[in-house]
Each structure stands twice: as structure tokens, then as C-alpha cells.
Amino acid sequence: MPIPSALVTLLVGMALVLSGLWVGYNVNVLPLDASANAPVYDALFRVLFSIGTILFVGIVGLVLFSLVRFRRRAGDITDGQAIEGNLLLEIVWTAIPAIVVLFVGLYSYDIYERMGGMSSLNDHAAMHRMAPTETETMEASVGAGSAVSAPAARVWGGIGVAADDVNVLPVEVTAMQFAFIFHYPDGDITSGELHVPNGRPVELRMKANDVIHAFWVPQFRIKQDVIPGQPTVLTFTPTKSGSYPIVCAELCGPYHGGMRSTVVVHEPDAYDAWFEKNSPLAATVASASLTPTA
């Protein structure tokens, strides 16, 4: 007895979905996950990869099958069947993609929320943290024609930090052609490399001196443009100690490809040692919270 084609279709479809899921969960194309949101990102990646594999393999399979099964044999000059459409099919292939993208959209929104992307950038707490230094910058630059004229405390974009988190390590980032400069207001340290302790949230307050740059750490799965005239912010929590590249990801001139630095994630006591060693204010750090820096 011939196997009914509906059954074959069903089995092929199930095999396709299962193998898509298997591929999605076993794919390994991402770099090391070294921040708190990297595993969350990777989960989203797996879901997208599974859905993508199922769709792609299914459609390529249909194209190849048609090319072989329905190829015109030599000498055949007849036409195919004059089928002009089918309402039910149209409804099915409108509804399925709609449901899939709705699911993907909601899921990625949830991921983004967990990354801190939806936290308000300009709520009271965030403003308070940003306020002192930025106000000064603005006053200093009015009329001076300086490239940086930051409106007071307004943060224009980025990934913020939960308003109630008091444990954050603030670092000011200045991007310029062709380097990143990191300044630690708590210890008045200025450095060309970013040093952070493992496990503690870090808040980068970023401004650019000349053109647009972008701060990217592939192992943290985060990126934010650094924009002249518009301060932005980026928060992350490193979870694995080690050194990772910082890459400028926005075309910024001839040496754009060379605009790189390193972020060093230390274990907390190693970080404290680094901090002590480099800070001119080391003795007073404990009490200095947000002193405006000179």
C-alpha cells in the first residue's frame, strides 16, 4: 500500500522542526559569554537560529524538490496545471509568519527588558548620578566652541541601570580619534584600558570629542554609539575574569580599524589592588562618593 502523501508531509515537517531545534540548541558560533546579559542574549540567538534554520531548510527543500520533481522532460511542450490561487493556503501562510514574528518580537522585548534596555534613562536616580560632572562640562563649553556641549544631565540613549542599584561602579568614557579614555571619578584615575571588578555592575558615562564612535565588547554582547554633544550610558555586569577587546564600531576616520582597547576584568581583590596602586586619591576613596572632578 502506498504511504499517503499527507502522512509523508507531516513526518517531513516534524523531522524538520526537530532538527531545526536541535541545530539551534547546539550551534556554537558566538564568542565567550563574559557578562550577565550575554547568556540571555545567547538564549535569544538560539531561538532565532532554530526558527531561521527551520524556515530556510524548509524553503530550500521546496525549491530543490520542485526543480527536480517538476523539471520539464525533453520533448514535453505541455503546460502545468492552471491553478491561480487558493484562499486557504494564502490565509495559512499569512497567519503563520504573523504569529512567528509576534512571538519573536515579544520574546526579544522580554530579553531587552532583562538586559536593562527599558529602564528609564532620565529618571530621578539616573539624573542624580549623572548630574554633577555633566553640568560642569556644559558650563565650561558654552561659548568656548568646544565640541562637547552636553545639555545638563540629559542622557540620550543606551542601556541604563536599575534605579535602585547603589553598587554601581561609574566610569566616564571619552572617545576621540582614535582612542578611548577611561576616567574613574571615585579614584580620579585616568587610563587607556578599562579595568573592572568581576561581578559588579559598571556604568559607562560616555561622550565623544570629535566624531561618532561606538563602544563594543563582543564578549559582553553590548554596543553603544558615543555621540558628540549627546551623552549616552551603557551598563553591564562582567561575569568572567580575563581580558577582552574593546572595538570602535562606527566609522570614525582613517584609523578607525585601529581604534581598539582592552577591558580587563579582575577578581574583586585584584581590582582593589589595581585601584589602590593607580589612584592619587586612594586614601580618601572610601568617603569620596561623587565629588566633582577637576
Binding site: 496545471q81 491553478i83 495559512v92 499569512t94 582613517p254
Partner: protein
């Protein structure tokens, strides 16, 4: 509506013979071929520039050309490929040649405007490329983001702006002409819903052109004021706002993506039914999905700015809007698959390139939906992942369709057939080279290689070299193609009027067609896709999806 006919000028002003291809001809077919050939010349220039880029990236250090030169080459490559190759060829080239046939007209609505639109292109192109040798060309990428575009050498950037303004103007003139021709010059008795799908695609595209290109023009004017007159629209040192430029730029440049790809959708919709001997599946839904893409395409621009200074709500809105474009796009792809299903597919070059288009574009569409998700994009924005994505769309999509269209319409253009063996060789080399070149770039982007760089982390060397080999294969693949189109024009098999047994009106006349398209009355084609034997075993109304997919009633 009275139409200036090319015949009015034929004896007096219009040159005859091959000379008319170098003249201010008003014949839509001559203008179409002028666009096409000019476009191909710029394609080979842009391709050579891409060769320079891939040669530089064969090693991780900046050693092949200077750093400034690299950025100039990069900027020129992008600008040439978009504004001098894809846009003029799929709109101006095929649009001018085919649209008057499809609506049953003897020419476009405004033949003189049409010729003006074409003749703006060569000077603009020469200006753009010549700037490299005279003043040095722009270095800030095809996006020309300020403040970089304000601080790089001014002359090259201003020449770039002038040239893009000319090309945008040409595109607007063309768009107006297409809208007028499709809506107003239809042969009496021909209804809108009887038009071949390419007309709908060009109507949608032209609406996008007319709505969004002026925004780009205005933006670039403001940018040129900033450069030349030291105004401060986008200059943060003078209180300007650089992110506003990005909004304005992408308000044009995302629709531009559809300006480059909707006409290609239209062209495959013509090619597939003819070579599978079946009607185009789901005509009505195809029309509605084009219009849905037009509307949605206008409200997704900020997905290019997820890492710029955009507030959270905006990121959310543009994620959802972008994702939903996948729905009408998906409908079109399923309809093409259903067109193939149960047909009698001729496995010729036109068909192979069209099917490869489906495969490549689906891949680019899947990465596109992924990029629309903010958290995903934040990692890969401005990396080689994005470079891979949009080359799968523009090259794997539109360029493959252009090649399919050449194999399909060449007999009409010249009266002679192309050699099929060379065509299949061209296809094979292009398909392998393309995938070898662009597939590895996705991995590079995910793992830390930013775009627009001349030097990179040495651990990425192998994959970059594979990518460069792919580019070399693509360059080689154009040799059989060039030989084929040049030699077949004189030595090819004579095609006859209708070598494919097609039903659309351009085939219902001689090859090449006479000046006013048909001798005598224009044919009235009410069923442009009326292929196929009437269903003997299966009626459309009674067919269920399972019947179709399981192949019942195929005989």
C-alpha cells in the same frame, strides 16, 4: 492625454541605427537599454572597487592601499553600487523598457523628461568617480554621517553630495514618469488588476521614490551648508544634532532598500510563470503585499539606529514594525513556491538565477528579522554580520534577478538568444562565489569584526581569505557572461518574436520591437498569466491546501 510620440521626431532630429543609443533619444526602449548598459559599466567599476577592498582584507594589516584611500574606495563602492547600478538598472532600465509594453502604450507618459532623467546619470557618475582623481573623493561611507562628513576633506564630500543629488533627481523624474504611465496611459479596456505584476511593483517603488527621495535631497543640502557655509544643522560644536541627520538619512535609505528590491520582486514574478508554464499563484495577494510593503517600509527606518541615541520606546516600535514586514514579504515567497509547484520547469539560466534569488533572499530575510530585534542588533550592528545580511539582499536578491532578467529578455532586446551553456556556467560560478564571499561574514561579525575597517584581529584571517577567494570567483564569473552577451548579439541563434511562448505584451511583437512597439493596434492582454491546461481533475474552488501540497491532481 496626448503623448509626444518618438515618431514625430524620427525623421528630423532623432538619429537612426546604433547612433541613437548615444543620442537624446525619446524612445523608451532606447532609453531602457541606455540605462541598462550604463548601469553595467558602473557595475564593473564598482566591482573593481570591491576587488580593492577584498584585496586589502586578505591580510589583517593595512598594507594594500593607504588608509584614506581605503575609505575613499569603500565610499565609492557603496555609492556606485546603490545609486549607479541597482537603482538605475531595476527601475530605469527594465522599467522603461517594459512598462509601456505592459500598459499597452507606445511610450512613457513624458518621453522628454525620461531622456533628461537618463542623461543626468552619466555626468553624475563621472563627477563621482572623477573626484577620486581630481580632488580626492568622499571618505565617510555611503551614509556620510556627520560630524565625520563635516571634518573629512570638504571638496570630495561636496562633489559626492552634488552627484547624489543629481542621481536622486533622476530617480524622482523616473518615478513620476512611471506613476503617470501606469495610471494614465493604460490601453482602453485594460483594468488595473489585469496588469502584469512588474507594473504593480514599479507603481509601489515609484511611490516610495517620490515620497522619500526629496527628504534625502533636503538632508544632503543641509549637510552641504554645514560643510561650505559653516552652518550648524548637524554640527554639535554649533549646537547641531547629529542624530537628526541619521533619522532623515534613513527615512530615505530604508525605503531605498525597497526601491532596490521591489522591482526585482516584480521581475521574478514575470519570469517564473513563463518558465514553469503555470499562472502566477495568488495575483491579488501579491498586489496587496506589495502595497503593504510600501506602507510598512516607510515606518521602519530607525532600525538602523538602535545603538544611536534613541529612547527605549522608539527601539520597541521600530522592532515591531520591522518584524512585520516579514509577513507580506513571506506571502510573496510562498506564492512563488506555489507557482513552481506542479509546473513544467525549464531549468535554463533565467530559471536558475530566479530560484537562487529565492534561496538567497530568504537567507537575507531571516537575518533581517533577527537584526530587527533590538537586543540582537545591539551586538552585531555595524559589524560584518550586517555586511553579510545586506549583500544577501541586494546581491543575492536583486543582482541575481538582474542576471535572470538579462537571460530572459535578451532575445527581445536583440532578436538573438544567449548561449545556455555559458549561462549555466555563469550561474554556477556566481552562486558558489557569492556564497563563499558573504556567508563567512556573518560569523566574522558575530565574533568581533566591525565593518568599514582596513585592519582586523589576526584570528579572523582565514575566513577573510575565504571571502576574498569568493570575490575572485565572482569576478571570474563575469567573463563567460560578458563573452556571451557581446558575441551572441551577432552570432546568437535567431530568437524569433516569442521564443518562450509567453503571453505578456512585449512578446506579442517583433524582436527587437519596432519604434512604436506594435505595428497596428496594441494587443489587449487580459490574462497575462493565462498559462496552463485547464484543471481537468481538480477545480480551484474545491482544492484544499493538502491537495495542492501533496500533489493531487498534478496530471
Amino acid at each position: 492625454m496626448t503623448v509626444a510620440s518618438p515618431n514625430d521626431f524620427q525623421e528630423s532630429l532623432q538619429p537612426q541605427g546604433w547612433l541613437r543609443y548615444f543620442s537624446f533619444s525619446l524612445d523608451h526602449k532606447v532609453i531602457g537599454l541606455q540605462y541598462l548598459v550604463t548601469g553595467f559599466i558602473f557595475y564593473f567599476i564598482g566591482g573593481a572597487l570591491a576587488g580593492v577592498i577584498r584585496a586589502e582584507l586578505a591580510s589583517p594589516i593595512s598594507d594594500f592601499v593607504g588608509r584614506e584611500t581605503y575609505n575613499e574606495v569603500l565610499t565609492l563602492h557603496g555609492t556606485v553600487m546603490i545609486f549607479l547600478w541597482i537603482v538605475p538598472v531595476v527601475n530605469g532600465g527594465f522599467g522603461n523598457y517594459l512598462i509601456p509594453f505592459y500598459v499597452g502604450a507606445r511610450d512613457m507618459a513624458f518621453p522628454r523628461l525620461n531622456a533628461v532623467a537618463f542623461w543626468m546619470i552619466p555626468p553624475a557618475g563621472i563627477l563621482l568617480i572623477g573626484s577620486y582623481f581630481i580632488t580626492g573623493s568622499a571618505q565617510s561611507g555611503w551614509t556620510a554621517y556627520p560630524p565625520l562628513s563635516i571634518t573629512t576633506p570638504a571638496l570630495g564630500q561636496v562633489v559626492w553630495i552634488v552627484s547624489v543629488l543629481l542621481l536622486g533627481g533622476s530617480s524622482i523624474f523616473g518615478g513620476i514618469n512611471f506613476i503617470a504611465t501606469i495610471l494614465k496611459l493604460r490601453r482602453p479596456g485594460l483594468k488595473l488588476m489585469q496588469l502584469p505584476m512588474y507594473c504593480w511593483a514599479m507603481l509601489g517603488t515609484s511611490i516610495l521614490v517620490v515620497l522619500s527621495t526629496p527628504v534625502l535631497a533636503g538632508t544632503l543640502l543641509l549637510l552641504s551648508f554645514d560643510i561650505v557655509a559653516h552652518t550648524g544643522f548637524f554640527n554639535p560644536a554649533m549646537g547641531g544634532n547629529v542624530v537628526v541627520y541619521q533619522h532623515l538619512f534613513w527615512f530615505y535609505s530604508h525605503p531605498a532598500v525597497y526601491i532596490m528590491v521591489l522591482p526585482a520582486f516584480g521581475l521574478v514574478s514575470e519570469i517564473l510563470p513563463i518558465h514553469s508554464r503555470k499562472p502566477l499563484f495568488g495575483y491579488t495577494t501579491m498586489v496587496y503585499s506589495i502595497m503593504a510593503i510600501v506602507v510598512l517600509g516607510l515606518v521602519v527606518w530607525a532600525h538602523h539606529m538602535f545603538t544611536s541615541g534613541t529612547p527605549p520606546w522608539m527601539r520597541l516600535f521600530f522592532t515591531i514594525a520591522t518584524s512585520f514586514i516579514a509577513v507580506p514579504t513571506g506571502i510573496k515567497f510562498f506564492n512563488w513556491l506555489a507557482t513552481l509547484w506542479g509546473g513544467k520547469l525549464a531549468l535554463n539560466s533565467a530559471m536558475l538565477f530566479s530560484c537562487a534569488f529565492i534561496v538567497n533572499f530568504v537567507f537575507g530575510g531571516i537575518t533581517g528579522v533577527a537584526l530587527a530585534q533590538v537586543p540582537f542588533d545591539i551586538h552585531v550592528h555595524d559589524t560584518y554580520f550586517v555586511v553579510g545580511h545586506f549583500h544577501y539582499i541586494v546581491y543575492g536578491g536583486t543582482v541575481f534577478v538582474i542576471f535572470a532578467s538579462i537571460y530572459h529578455w535578451y532575445p527581445k532586446f536583440t532578436g538573438r538568444m544567449l548561449n545556455e551553456d555559458l549561462g549555466r556556467l555563469h550561474f554556477l560560478l556566481t552562486f558558489i562565489g557569492f556564497n563563499l564571499c558573504f556567508a563567512p561574514q556573518h560569523w566574522l561579525g558575530l565574533n568581533g569584526m566591525p565593518r568599514r575597517v582596513a585592519e582586523y584581529d589576526p584570528s579572523f584571517t582565514t575566513l577573510n581569505q575565504i571571502s576574498s577567494v569568493g570575490a575572485l570567483l565572482m569576478a571570474i564569473s563575469s567573463l563567460p557572461f560578458l563573452y556571451n552577451v557581446l558575441v551572441s548579439a551577432f552570432r546568437g541563434r535567431v530568437a524569433g518574436d516569442n521564443p518562450w511562448n509567453a503571453l505578456t505584451p512585449e512578446w506579442l511583437t517583433s524582436s527587437p520591437p519596432p519604434v512604436e512597439n506594435w505595428v497596428g493596434e496594441a494587443p489587449l492582454v487580459e490574462h497575462p498569466y493565462g498559462y496552463g491546461v485547464p484543471e481537468d481533475t481538480l477545480s480551484v474552488a474545491a482544492a484544499t491546501g493538502r491537495d495542492l501540497w501533496s500533489g493531487a491532481g498534478r496530471r
